[in-house]
């Protein structure tokens, strides 16, 4: 198979890579670009561990082909914090103990960021439905939802 050349932007960096036409964007991120913060839990779009943004749209990177990244703007967990300063969402996840094993956490943080961009003041129910595509087996979601709602409050206050 001849590899395809792709030019894209990831977390603000101009990136070029080669991939097979059938490589998923998740595979490219993890294997080609060593951006292993994006996790694979199922490979079928069911668990949300590989959540990223593609031109601001929240997607499962396991359901996107690497070649589809051409000319796009990709956001991953590695781009959420600002230099040595955690994002409020990350701080709130830590403060509320919203992670146990942490494997779903990158996906949940990327999804939460997308949620709060669309809706700066979600209700508990809105947060639960928006994040329904991000599976967590450890926490029972309680502390995640508290972290998300608290982060929303702080971000609204700061905005």
């Amino acid at each position: 198979m001849t590899k395809k050349h792709v030019s894209t932007t990831i977390n603000g960096d101009a990136i070029e890579f080669l991939c097979d036409p059938n490589d998923t964007l998740l595979d490219v991120l993890r294997k080609e670009l060593s951006l292993t913060g994006t996790k694979e839990g199922c490979g079928s779009g069911d668990c949300g561990a590989c959540s990223i943004t593609l031109d601001e749209r929240l997607v499962c990177s396991c359901l996107v082909l690497g070649v589809e990244a051409e000319g796009k703007n990709i956001g991953t967990i590695e781009g959420v914090s600002n230099k040595d300063q955690l994002h409020v969402i990350q701080e709130k996840f830590l403060e509320h103990a919203a992670l146990q094993c942490g494997i779903c956490t990158p996906g949940l943080i990327v999804s939460t960021q997308a949620l709060l961009k669309e809706n700066s003041n979600p209700t508990e129910e809105e947060a639960r439905y928006y994040l329904a595509g991000n599976l967590c087996r450890c926490t029972g979601y309680d502390k995640i939802i508290r972290a998300v709602l608290d982060a929303a409050d702080v971000m609204r206050g700061a905005a």
Partner: protein, 749 residues
């Protein structure tokens, strides 16, 4: 009960020290390690549930360009019938090898047969598909009733039921019978005014960790190898892998990656020995990652069960006798937690007459693995359903009924010891007084109450705390951190030494950098490894005092240690930990504290859950609308992570009660090996999970700690299912309470 102590550090809600890596994506999990020259391993799995392997022809796979090695069962040396540690139980070495790569038979859909390593995943996968296996297909047995029928196909010709009075002469799918007894249930039932008996069914479920099993193994020419893997116990991975491959322990360095959930399912090896074979044969590092489908098909589910329960009580609410006959599916190889079911089923109760018979039954499904309090959720589900029904029939409040019969200090258990101080009564009182229990229900709603008991374990832990020249220190421990345990180690080190929490960095060392630690399982880590941290901390305090004494030319007895500072009682001199550490060159070398312990005295943790559901009578859909989890922590080191264990256990149990089950067709082919069709709870399925931490200290731990990880999954099965019964006014016996199952009960009323 011991006196209430004042603590400076423990009990706070500190930020976990490993959290920053985990919220930024920097933390490295099982599949995150890449090595130079690394190649990829893939497994060929059986398309049949039960078949003889007549031949395996992998010539075409081997000839494919890019394929570098192939592993089959023949690559294992001849293995003795020997038990190795596997999670909270043991596994037979031969069975383990046959589970890793099938020998003469495949015993379940997805059973591993052969593995290929190639320069890319795509080539490895292509090679696997080129392997030709000839099968003689056999009839599968998919359930306890089928397995125990007179004409049942037999999985293992050499398996004869153990524990029968007469030694059997015919092979059977029943691996073992065990019984537990106290008093005489016939006497107890004769005393009863009311007796209820029912049979319950619980399906095969999966632990459902989000991170699939993954490993990278690198073998070198000197015979040394490095195994990187996601596991609850890297020392046990080392032990199993070494035994399976005939290696000495010092040839294998096992590094525990961060672990993306385990719940008991990551206590045994599936990939590591196979990747080792592939790496050795190819001379290249080999990485293997299970797909989600493989996780469901090939790794540890929890047992399906059939459990019959009979309980008698007097009109005044005294339970007189409790009896059970329970069968647990082991999957393809013997070793279900049936015995643990028998030990736990009635343990929340102080009743004179009890009897439990337990059967371990093999079926053509994946070999079960430990799943959070293995055996207890299914067994206690059956007992709690009948207890609640008895309370209702006797018109006694279900909490009062349980209080009247609750196990407490001095209660004789069915399995041997007498109870030490435990917190069941306190949990029941807290439930009774909770705002939730005092709230009213509406139409189509129901409420369930259930108690849960789990032993918890201690076991071997080794910890070294190395102090740095600036007075900071590294806690070198060996218990994979599956839910925030580094935070509790940091807090206990600070409490024991008086040195501030942020001065300590806890790390999980590999098998070469710390002495043996038992797996993170049995709710042991904060209890046992915590105890080792405390002991290592006390060792540091002692050394600090000696060093200060040397500086002051006094005896160590003349030095007090107050909040991390040495104080000379004779001359009012002070030396901080940092000052002592800076001067160790003059007082005898570096300071490190050490503890290698086998922790005894693990304290049982009881829980009581309250669940409200609302049932859609037209569709049978059940919504959990309010949930409260109450549990005895002994002492909560980090309350947020203790609550997290309660909430996580509760929600896994809710999933078990409402939706989760392996669905097989009649040929034994798994129909739902994915998260879309094996539906674990989503955020949108649930309410907030209220928690109440009860603290009845465990006298055998310096700070009173009881393990808290497992008990929380026990009560939800009955709390949810009884709430459904209460709402639909008809008994539920079979899980899950999925819409079609519930609708069937509603329609047959």
């Amino acid at each position: 009960m011991s006196e209430v102590k004042e603590y400076k550090y423990i009990g706070q809600r500190s930020i976990r020290p490993d959290g920053f890596e985990k919220v930024t994506g920097r933390a490295n999990y099982g599949s995150d390690l890449n090595l130079p020259g690394m190649i990829w391993g893939k497994i060929l799995r059986s398309p049949h549930a039960h078949a003889k392997i007549l031949s395996i022809d992998y010539a075409k796979a081997e000839a494919l360009s890019g394929v570098l090695s192939i592993a089959t069962h023949d690559d294992f040396p001849d293995l003795p019938v020997e038990a190795v540690v596997a999670g909270e139980g043991t596994a037979n070495l031969r069975d383990l090898a046959q589970n890793l790569l099938a020998d003469e038979k495949v015993l379940y859909h997805g059973h591993a047969i052969l593995a290929v390593a190639a320069i890319s995943e795509a080539i490895a996968e292509k090679a696997v598909n080129l392997v030709e296996v000839e099968y003689e297909i056999l009839k599968p047995v998919l359930d306890i009733r089928e397995a125990t029928a007179d004409d049942a196909p037999i999985l293992h010709d050499d398996m004869f039921t153990k524990g029968l009075e007469e030694v059997p002469t015919v092979a059977s799918n029943v691996a073992a019978r065990t019984e537990f007894r106290k008093g005489d249930v016939e006497v107890g039932f004769a005393d009863a005014d009311i007796i209820i008996e029912r049979e319950f069914y619980t399906p095969t479920v999966h632990q459902g960790y989000i991170e699939p099993h993954a490993t990278t193994v690198s073998y070198d020419e000197s015979g040394q190898s490095m195994v990187w893997c996601s596991t609850q116990g890297h020392f046990d991975v080392r032990a199993s892998t070494a035994k399976l491959l005939g290696l000495s322990l010092n040839k294998l360095k096992v590094v525990a990656s961060e672990i993306g959930g385990g719940f008991g399912g990551k206590t045994i090896v599936y990939l590591e020995p196979v990747a080792h074979i592939l790496s050795k044969k190819s001379g290249r590092p080999v990485k293997m990652i299970m797909s989600r489908e493989e996780v469901f098909k090939g790794s540890g589910p929890g047992s399906a069960t059939r459990i019959w329960v009979k309980i008698g009580a007097k009109n005044d609410g005294t339970i007189t006798a409790m009896q059970s006959n329970m069968s647990f599916e082991a999957g393809a190889f013997k070793g279900s937690p049936a015995m643990l079911g028998g030990m736990t089923i009635f343990t929340p109760y102080d009743v004179e007459h009890m009897y439990a018979e337990c059967y371990d039954v093999v079926v053509n499904k994946p070999k079960v693995a430990a799943y959070r309090a293995p055996g207890a959720p299914q067994a206690e589900y059956a007992a709690e359903m009948v207890v609640s029904e008895l309370a209702a029939k006797l018109d006694i409040d279900p909490i009062e009924f349980r209080l009247q019969n609750a196990a407490k200090e001095g209660t004789q258990t069915i399995y041997g010891p007498k109870m030490k101080a435990v917190g069941l009564v306190e949990c029941l009182e807290a439930a009774k007084n909770s705002p939730h229990y005092q709230s009213a229900l509406k139409a189509n709603q129901g409420r369930g109450i259930a108690a849960g008991f789990w032993f918890n374990i201690g076991g071997m832990s080794s910890v070294t705390i190395n102090m740095n020249p600036d007075g900071t220190g590294t806690i070198v421990e060996g218990s994979p951190d599956i839910g925030g345990s580094r935070a509790s180690m940091q807090m206990m080190a600070a409490e024991a030494t008086g040195i501030a929490m942020d001065k300590f960095k806890p790390i999980i060392a590999d098998t070469e950098n710390v002495a043996y630690n038992a797996s993170t399982g049995g709710s042991r880590t904060t209890f046992a490894t915590g105890m080792a941290v405390i002991e290592a901390g006390e060792d540091i305090v002692q050394q600090m005092k000696e060093r200060a004494a040397a500086v002051w030319n006094v005896t160590a007895a003349q030095v007090d240690w107050i909040d991390g500072v040495a104080v000379n009682t004779a001359a009012e001199n002070r030396l901080t930990a940092a000052e002592i550490c800076a001067g160790v060159g003059r007082t005898g070398g570096q300071i490190s504290g050490r503890a290698n312990i086998n922790a005894r005295g693990a304290g049982p943790s009881f829980a009581v859950h309250v669940c409200d559901v609302e049932v859609d009578m037209e569709t049978g859909k059940v919504d959990v609308i309010r949930y409260t989890a109450i549990q005895d922590a002994g002492k909560a080191i980090h309350p947020s992570y203790v609550e997290g264990q309660y909430q996580g256990g509760a929600v896994q149990g809710i999933g078990w009660a409402l939706n989760e089950e392996y669905v097989y067709n009649e040929d034994g082919i798994l129909q739902n090996p994915g998260f879309l069709d094996y539906r674990i709870p989503l955020a949108s399925d649930l309410p907030m999970i209220e928690t109440i931490i009860v603290e009845v200290p465990n006298a055998y731990h310096p700070y009173g700690v009881r393990g808290v990880g497992e008990t929380g999954i026990i009560p939800p099965l009955a709390a949810v299912a009884y709430a459904v019964s209460d709402a639909i006014k008809a008994p539920v016996t079979d899980l899950p309470c999925s819409p079609p199952n519930v609708l069937k009960i509603i329609q047959s009323k």
